[in-house]
Structures are given as structure tokens and as C-alpha cells.
């Protein structure tokens, strides 16, 4: 199903060399009947001798160049280091909650965690404000508070338009193009910029000639450039350029548009009653005037008696069974002759009765020939693909949204998540086997995704709880944590002398039963006003009258003041007036009660002026909302809808969350060495990593090492 593609110039030289080698082999053959064997043998010999030839050459060149490279590195190195460890291996389990972890450890269900804690130490790990993935991992990466790394939320708002935008990545447009009739030839690559600032600790290690392999640490798109290898993660887009758009082909007419993250596409009968066709909408073709979407026809033929279907796209076909996810299927779009843009998708027939529906996961950028920079060096993603097979590259690869929209189900989501988890594990072990010195970081996302999507199975009375008992998924979260424990066990088995092992999570998780619409609250209390005649149901704050609005909520974590000189239509004067308004809002939100449930919804609204320090703190929301257990910003508010009640039930599968008071959802930290700090925070880990390699943490870093270096004999 997935023919490897001509991946590299190395391949071309392989082919040339193959012909040469075959020729040589033939010339050396004795004359006579034996010569007839030539071409037959050619098929066997083809490539392989050539490959050997090329490897010898590569190895030879590498060996010859080695002394020069070493000399060059020694010249550029900033001072000598005395590492305290040979390797630092870091396993990140995004979102693994300490309460659940501790319960399972106490019950003996996580023996390897327990063993690791006994050999070194276990602590709860203070997360960042806010306790969400992009912020916390950026702090892990840079050893700084958000005021210095500039990531405060998933979304940032453009003060010129009040519209949300991705906080971590900016993809520019190409304005220099050559026009040839309908053709548009771009003369430059679009600039893709990482908006996370400051300096990753692996970059600092690299300046001292210490190699790091960094696999799927969030907020690494585009990837960092340093002495080492990195596979990017959040927020790598899909091939459509979005953060994940699934497709549902269906014969069902109409149907509501998905709120976010999905496309509903028609599936039409073609000829016989059991054959259908549809068109996959691909990325835009920027080579053509007007950038039309590239399209790939898809054909589906049902075999009702056998209960399966044959799907074909691009001349490739796969057999599908209803309710079973296919393997990775390669889609190839051709904007113009000679250029291919390839992606990977997984398909599933969701029904094949009277109506037929086919689900396609978001189209991941193909790692073997990525359409965007997803790794450093550029070929690292291709290397991993060759080493472990095709894998998900999308930042948020597990299709949470299709499950939210009930296009897929709990079982499919579990399969998808578990498969990605296994891909990740294969990457980790591929790196572990080749990595002799330096740092190796791998982040696993499954715990976070499973927390989010299966929390409703663990809590009686959750508004999103399944109708009846569902024994298959009741213990999904525990199963995932136990799997994490197995991964830790397998890594521990491969540790050697001088290897340090850390296991950590960036935050925990708690229940998300009720959504809070902060904009509705601001409207009700007169801080936000709607345009004449608007009912506030428009998305992205389109119905807000900015000339009378003093505060608004955008993104997932906070509230902004409509500040003069900062926002395009700001009306709040900076200084004393702004401070007074902030204090007033804080007083109103601190301890905000959900009357209907008689529960405190907001523990505290934090003044970010006091939380953050650093050059970028001006980009932060003015107030950060610390929700209580069970509460979070509502879906509507996150999409900029003002209308509706302030509090509402969350009935989506996405039923657990951690966008709450960060003190409620710390992460975990385990190490195979003692942890001297009593109350370590995620910001302390970068300085600790540097200290383990014998480096003094630079002054801009905020944390402090959590272990006394004197504990380590020099290696």
C-alpha cells in the first residue's frame, strides 16, 4: 500500500552505481552459457552491491572528514565541560496526572514507576501558569517563565483585529511570484517562523558539542537548529495547513457543518448501486491563479456479501472493513508536473448500510518527503520513516475532534492513539540504540489525549458520561498509564553506567463538566457590549462593539483589557485606569460561583503582571483565569461566541481538561537520581539538564537545578 518513494539524491546515485556495478559484474563473467545469467542475476544484485558501494563511499568520506570536523568543532566549542552523566534520557508523558499516577503506584499497578521512585525520587512537578501543553513544554525547553519565551496560550490575538491566531507559529505568504499565464511560480519559500523565544537548553548543549535527540517535544515547528536531531510536534499542521481537518464522505444528504476541524463531503453513486465516488479536497495549489484546491478522486466499491469495501485513490487501493481503521494510506497531490505533495491518512468505513460513510483522518505531512520543515536536520523525519515505517506527523495527531463530533467512536480513538503511541515508542528506541552520549528527549502524548477523551467514563454524573456502562473504556485512562509504566520499564532495562533517566509530565488533568463563557459574564457585567442589533452568536467576537468594550476573552486561558494604544480600538487608558479595571475584574471573578450547581467555578483570577517577568510579558492576557475542578472555558467562548448562558454543561467526549488553576493540576517528576528540591517546578528542569552536563545555567534562565551536582561522581 505504501511504496517507498525515491527519497534522496543518495537514491539516484544508488541507481547509477547499480548500473555500473552490474556492468562490471557482467564484464567479469566468464564467456559462454554462464553469460546468459547476467540479466537474471541483475535483478538480484541490483541495488545491493551498489548500496554497499555507496555506503563504503559515504563511510569513507565520513572517516576522512572526521578529524577535520572534530577540529572544527573543538575550535567552535565554548569552553570545556565536565559532564556528570553520560546520557540524560527524558521521557515526557504529556498530561500524566499525579493523583491517578500515585493511586496506581500505591495499588502496585505501576511497578516500574515505583521502582524508579525508589531508586531515585518522585515529586509532583509544579506546572506553568497556565498549565497547558504549549506553555509548559516551552518552559521546559527554555528554562524560563512565559514572559521570556512568549507562549502564553494556544492562541494569541492580533491586537489589530482582535482575531485569534496560533501563538507558536507564523506562516508567511509569498508575495514574490513569477506570473506565466495561469501559472504562478513562487520565487521564495514562505517564511515559517517559530514564535517561541529564548533559547532551548539543547541548543546550549550543542554549543558545547553535546549532541541531543529531541523527539516530539511540543512547540517545535519549525524545528530548532542545533547540534542534534529533532522531530517537531505541536503545532505542525496537516497538509491542508490546518491543525487537523478530518473528512467525512457520506451519501447522507445535508448534515450540519462540523463546528471545527472537519469537512463533510459528498459520496455519490457511480454506475452500480455499490460503487461510489467522491473527491478529496487537498491543499491549495499556489502554482495556479486563484490557488484552487487540489483534488484527488476517490472511488469506493462495496462488497456487501463479504462485508467489506475497496477504496482506491491515486491508483492505490486498500480493503476496508466497517469500523476498522486502515493503515497509513499515501495521498499524492500534483500541483504542477514534476512536483508532488504527499500526505498520509487513515481511513475507516463508518457505515455501509442504507447509507455509506467514509472517514478520513487529517492528512498528515508525509515524513519521507515532508512538504514543510518538520525536523532538523531536514532528512531526520525521512530517516525515522525508513527506520520505523510511516508515522503521524501532525502536531495534535490524535483525532479528538472527530470523536467530539461523533464521527468516530471511543474504540477508533483508542486505536488511533495507541498506534501513534507505538510509533513514538519505536522512535524512542531507535534513538536510544544509536545514542551513546548526550541528551535524548521523547514526549508521548497518549496520556493527555486519553485523559481528555475518556474522563467521562471515570466519573458518575459527568454530563458527557456514556448512557450505559461501557466496560471497554471505563479503565482507558488507567490502561494508558500502565502502558506508560511498561515503556519506562523497557527504557530502564537499557540503561547503562552514567545514564540519567527522567520521567515527567507537564501538567495533570481534572474533570471538565461545566464550561464558563467569560464573554457572557463580561457582557452581563457591562464590560463588553454588542453591536447594535447583534445577538452575540457570531464567532470570533464578530458581534462585539469595540468602542464600548473594556474587556474581552480570546483564547483558552485569559481575559484581555481593551487597552488604548495596544488594541486597535482600545478605550481603557493604560496605567491607573487599567490597573483599576483589572482589580475590579479580578474581584468579580475571584471565587465566581456557579449558582446552578452551587460550586465555585473560578478559584482565582491571576494578574499576569505579577505572574510573569521578561520582555514578552506584554503579549500575555491581562488576567489568567484559574478555574476550579470541573470547570473550564466553554466551547462557545473559546470560539468567540458571546451569546448564551455563563455556565453550561459540557457534553462533548472531550471531558477532562487542565485549563484550570495550575495549582490543581501539577505534573509528575521521577528521576533515577535523588531529587533534592522539595517542590520542583518544570522551569527547573532546563537548568538541571545543563548542570548534569557540567554547564552553569545562563543568567536568563529562571529555574534552579533540582539536584545537587556534588552527588555525581564525574564520568
Amino acid at each position: 500500500m505504501l511504496p517507498p518513494t525515491a527519497a534522496s539524491p543518495a537514491r539516484r546515485s544508488v541507481r547509477t552505481a547499480a548500473v555500473l556495478a552490474a556492468l562490471a559484474a557482467l564484464l567479469l563473467q566468464p564467456a559462454g552459457a554462464a553469460a546468459y545469467i547476467g540479466p537474471g542475476a541483475g535483478f538480484a544484485v541490483l541495488g545491493s552491491f551498489a548500496v554497499l558501494f555507496v555506503t563504503m563511499l559515504l563511510a569513507g568520506v565520513s572517516l576522512l572528514a572526521w578529524p577535520f570536523r572534530m577540529a572544527w568543532r573543538a575550535l567552535r566549542r565554548r569552553g570545556r565541560t565536565r559532564p556528570l552523566v553520560r546520557r540524560l534520557i527524558i521521557l515526557g508523558f504529556d498530561g500524566q496526572d499525579p493523583r491517578i499516577t500515585e493511586r496506581l503506584m500505591a495499588a502496585g499497578h505501576m511497578p516500574n514507576f515505583t521502582r524508579l521512585a525508589a531508586a531515585g525520587g518522585y515529586r509532583r512537578l509544579r506546572s506553568t501558569f497556565p498549565s497547558i501543553t504549549p506553555v509548559a513544554w516551552s518552559t521546559f525547553t527554555t528554562g524560563t517563565n512565559p514572559g521570556k519565551h512568549n507562549i502564553f496560550d494556544f492562541l494569541d490575538r492580533d491586537p489589530r483585529t482582535y482575531l485569534p491566531r496560533l501563538s507558536s507559529t507564523e506562516i508567511g505568504a509569498v508575495d514574490r511570484v513569477l506570473k506565466l499565464g495561469r501559472l504562478r511560480i513562487p520565487l521564495a519559500r514562505p517564511a515559517i517562523r517559530l514564535l517561541r523565544k529564548s533559547k532551548p537548553w539543547w541548543t546550549i548543549l550543542g554549543e558545547h558539542n553535546i549532541w541531543s535527540t529531541v523527539i516530539r517535544v511540543p512547540i517545535t515547528f519549525p524545528p530548532d537548529r542545533f547540534y542534534g536531531a529533532q522531530l517537531g510536534a505541536m503545532c505542525i499542521p496537516d497538509l491542508l495547513g490546518t491543525q487537523g481537518t478530518f473528512m467525512l464522505f457520506s451519501t447522507r444528504p445535508g448534515g450540519e457543518a462540523f463546528q471545527e476541524g472537519g469537512l463533510r463531503l459528498p459520496l455519490a453513486r457511480s454506475g452500480s448501486p455499490d460503487s461510489f465516488e467522491g473527491v478529496i479536497e487537498g491543499p491549495e495549489n499556489s502554482f495556479l491563479e486563484g490557488s484552487p484546491k487540489m483534488r484527488l478522486p476517490l472511488a469506493l466499491a462495496l462488497d456487501r456479501s463479504a462485508g467489506r469495501a475497496l477504496v482506491s485513490v491515486n491508483g492505490e487501493a486498500a480493503t476496508l472493513e466497517p469500523g476498522v481503521l486502515s493503515g497509513w494510506f499515501r495521498l499524492e497531490f500534483r500541483p504542477i508536473a514534476g512536483i508532488k505533495v504527499a500526505g498520509l491518512t487513515r481511513m475507516m468505513l463508518t457505515e455501509m448500510g442504507e447509507h455509506v460513510s467514509l472517514y478520513l483522518s487529517p492528512i498528515n505531512i508525509e515524513p519521507a518527503k515532508p512538504a514543510m520543515p518538520i525536523s532538523h536536520p531536514g532528512f531526520y523525519s525521512a530517516y525515522l520513516e525508513k527506520k520505523i515505517g510511516p508515522y503521524a506527523t501532525l502536531g495534535l495527531a490524535e483525532d479528538t475532534w472527530a470523536l467530539n463530533e461523533k464521527v468516530t467512536d471511543d474504540r477508533t480513538f483508542w486505536t488511533q492513539t495507541a498506534d501513534i503511541d507505538r510509533e513514538r515508542e519505536a522512535m524512542l528506541f531507535a534513538a536510544l540504540d544509536t545514542h551513546r552520549r548526550g541528551a535524548l528527549v521523547t514526549v508521548f502524548d497518549a496520556a493527555d489525549r486519553v485523559n481528555h477523551m475518556y474522563w467521562r467514563h471515570t466519573e458518575d454524573g459527568h454530563p458527557a458520561a456514556p448512557d450505559g456502562p461501557d466496560p471497554e473504556h471505563a479503565d482507558a485512562i488507567e490502561r494508558q498509564y500502565r502502558r506508560n509504566d511498561e515503556i519506562v520499564g523497557r527504557v530502564m532495562a537499557r540503561l547503562g553506567e552514567g545514564d540519567a533517566l527522567w520521567v515527567l509530565s507537564d501538567h495533570g488533568c481534572t474533570s471538565f463538566r461545566r464550561g464558563v463563557n467569560l464573554n457572557a459574564w463580561l457582557l452581563e457585567h457591562g464590560y463588553l457590549h454588542l453591536k447594535e442589533g447583534a445577538d452575540g452568536s457570531a464567532q470570533w467576537l464578530q458581534s462585539v462593539d469595540w468602542s464600548r468594550t473594556r474587556a474581552y476573552a480570546v483564547g483558552l486561558v485569559g481575559v484581555f483589557l481593551n487597552l488604548e494604544g495596544r488594541e486597535a480600538h482600545g478605550i481603557v487608558a493604560p496605567g491607573a485606569a487599567a490597573a483599576a479595571l483589572k482589580a475590579e475584574l479580578k474581584a468579580g471573578l475571584d471565587g465566581l460561583v456557579d449558582e446552578e450547581k452551587a460550586e465555585v467555578a473560578v478559584n482565582e483570577a491571576f494578574d499576569t503582571d505579577l505572574l510573569y517577568r521578561g520582555p514578552y510579558k506584554g503579549n500575555a492576557p491581562d488576567l489568567l483565569i484559574g478555574y476550579n475542578h470541573g470547570y473550564r472555558i466553554s466551547w462557545g467562548c473559546a470560539a468567540g461566541v458571546v451569546a448564551g448562558p455563563i455556565f453550561e454543561d459540557n457534553t462533548k467526549a472531550w471531558s477532562g481538561d487542565h485549563i484550570v488553576d495550575p495549582r490543581l493540576v501539577p505534573g509528575i517528576f521521577l528521576a533515577n537520581h535523588p531529587i533534592d528540591a522539595a517542590d520542583p517546578a518544570i522551569v527547573d528542569l532546563a537548568p538541571t539538564a545543563l548542570a548534569l552536563f557540567g554547564l552553569r545555567p545562563p543568567p536568563h534562565m529562571d529555574g534552579a537545578p533540582v539536584v545537587d551536582p556534588a552527588r555525581f561522581p564525574n564520568v
Partner: protein
């Protein structure tokens, strides 16, 4: 994307930048200079076209 180019600055200015970069919490003088320029540019540059923005919004989705 990783394309860099060099710009000439007065030595004394760079020295001042270097001193204050650390105090302000930047990881390097380059980061300080980049940030200062970006802040200035943000005042001058227009936001993207409405269509572009809409497209970008569609791509956001909800996130954890």
C-alpha cells in the same frame, strides 16, 4: 526559513544591547535586537486580508 543575513551595527550599540539583553531576560543580544525590530514593525505592518485571516481561523480548531 532559517535564512539569516548580517546587518552592521555600531560596536558601542551592540555593547549596550549585550549588557541590557541579560538584564531584560533575553537569551542573547540577537534576540533583543530581533524583538525590538519586531515591535516596531508590528506598528507599521497591516494585518492580513480578511480572507487570509478567515482561512487561518478555520485551521485553528480547538486545542487541549
Amino acid at each position: 526559513m532559517f535564512d539569516y543575513t548580517k546587518v552592521k551595527l555600531e560596536k558601542s550599540l551592540v555593547e549596550r544591547v549585550r549588557r541590557f539583553a541579560e538584564i531584560a531576560g533575553y537569551a542573547s543580544p540577537e534576540e533583543f535586537i530581533t524583538h525590538a525590530l519586531e515591535k516596531e514593525l508590528a506598528q507599521l505592518e497591516e494585518a492580513g486580508s480578511e480572507e487570509e485571516i478567515k482561512k487561518r481561523l478555520q485551521g485553528l480548531g480547538y486545542m487541549s
